[in-house]
């Protein structure tokens, strides 16, 4: 990763933006116990990081924005910091990989990066709780699902439909984040650099 001064300042700014959303919005959503707050935050954060990619169109920029955000989260006041840090890092890494594989920034690559990155919050609890608590946690999940299905009188396969619906929800939020990033990013480009905006529209 080799960035110019302008790139580094922009990375810092977009990292601060995502960090501000995580620190203020994240606290509010967790206090209010809003369902799916993790994927909503991931969606907004990913939209910011992808706009950052439009302004720093270099390999590694989304990952750098994610690293900055994760470090800001570490220094924010709050209880458990390690799990959101892992989440932010993983989301930016996934988005970076997708963008790198798909080449030049395009609407389709933004949609794909958003969808893949926001899928992470679905798997995040399994990984982080596995790290924190060890493999025993997976046995707990398995038994909880079995007992729950038994209590509700549902076949154990019903859980597959629930999981599919949850994955679809995460993907839809990610696609929306990618679309938002592409649209908003181009509007910002046109507003700040009229020459660039005219070229891309």
């Amino acid at each position: 990763m080799r960035f110019s001064i302008r790139d580094l300042v922009y990375i810092g700014v977009f990292g601060a933006l995502w960090g501000a959303v995580e620190i203020t919005g994240g606290s509010v959503l967790h206090v209010l116990n809003v369902p799916f707050s993790g994927v909503v935050l991931a969606g907004v954060g990913m939209a910011i990081a992808l706009i950052g990619r439009l302004f720093v169109p270099r390999r590694g920029s989304v990952l750098a924005i994610g690293i900055i955000t994760a470090l800001l989260k570490m220094f924010s006041i709050g209880g458990i910091v390690i799990t959101p840090m892992i989440g932010i890092f993983a989301e930016s890494l996934i988005a970076e990989l997708v963008l790198t594989m798909l080449g030049r920034p395009r609407r389709a690559s933004f949609l794909a990066a958003g969808a893949m990155a926001t899928l992470w919050p679905f798997f995040h609890p399994f990984l982080t709780q596995g790290i924190l608590a060890g493999s025993g946690i997976f046995t707990i999940y398995q038994r909880t699902i079995q007992k729950g299905a038994q209590t509700l009188g549902l076949p154990a396969t019903a859980i597959l439909y629930v999981l599919a619906a949850l994955i679809a929800l995460h993907i839809v939020i990610g696609l929306a984040a990618g679309l938002l990033a592409w649209d908003a990013g181009r509007v910002i480009q046109a507003r700040l650099r009229p020459d660039v905006g005219e070229r891309t529209t």
Binding site: R6, V9, V13, G15, L17, V81, G136, R143, L180, V187
Partner: protein
């Protein structure tokens, strides 16, 4: 302790906490908590967090109910002693990890972390982190002001459009501010490539803590 020493100790503590088998996790957790209390007392603030204890309870209760084969039916629920023991081991591991991370976060400054990133080969990332830390209050204030203005003008009635407007406003304002920073950095001929390499220093305290962690690791794995 030096920032580099703290970073190495964090890695060792994480390896120790995550790999200690069975009840040896108690020894690992104990050593980490004692070292953290000596090297960075602020790290123990994690243990005063109600959310953290709730998380531990959420580990213990399902483990007692769903783990282990010696389930005893009491009040309609299958309670297992071995499951509870497995839950305690998980909780101890979690305490070790949380205290180690909090200790690092509480004792290493942003500047030190920036120097560490630069030394690890991530050229310029320390500079970007410094920009982000300095910009954070401005960005937060921009975000709040734009959100309130949008809300008062009824801009949130259409959430998609509202979110788009909010993002455009906040990002555009922040980028204008960023252009000023770029201008002043360029006027001073600043370049991250020309920054003098910061030498990482090590203190005797670093080595003492590292040795204690390595000895504990060896004891936990081999004894």
């Amino acid at each position: 302790m030096s920032p580099a020493g703290r970073a190495v100790c964090l890695i060792l503590a994480l390896v120790l906490a995550t790999t200690a088998p069975g009840w040896r996790a108690a020894a690992a957790c104990g050593v980490i908590v004692v070292l953290a209390a000596i090297a960075s007392p602020a790290s123990l603030a994690t243990l005063r967090s109600r959310r953290f204890w709730l998380f531990l309870i959420l580990l213990l209760v399902p483990a007692a109910l769903f783990l282990g084969g010696d389930a005893q039916e009491a009040t309609g629920l299958a309670f297992s002693m071995s499951g509870l023991q497995a839950g305690v081991v998980m909780a101890l591991r979690a305490i070790g990890i949380m205290v180690a991370v909090s200790g690092f976060a509480a004792s290493v400054s942003v500047t030190d972390l920036g120097h560490l990133l630069e030394r690890l080969g991530m050229r310029g990332l320390g500079f970007a982190l410094g920009i982000a830390v300095n910009m954070l209050p401005t960005v937060q204030s921009n975000l709040t002001t734009a959100y309130q203005a949008l809300r008062l003008r009824g801009g949130l009635r259409r959430p998609w459009m509202g979110l788009r407007l909010l993002l455009v406003t906040v990002a555009a304002n922040s980028l204008r501010h960023a252009d000023d920073i770029v201008g002043s950095a360029e006027a001073r001929a600043f370049s991250p490539d020309r920054l003098p390499a910061v030498r990482l220093t090590w203190s005797a305290a670093d080595w003492r803590v590292i040795v204690v962690l390595i000895v504990t690791m060896a004891a936990v794995w081999l004894v």
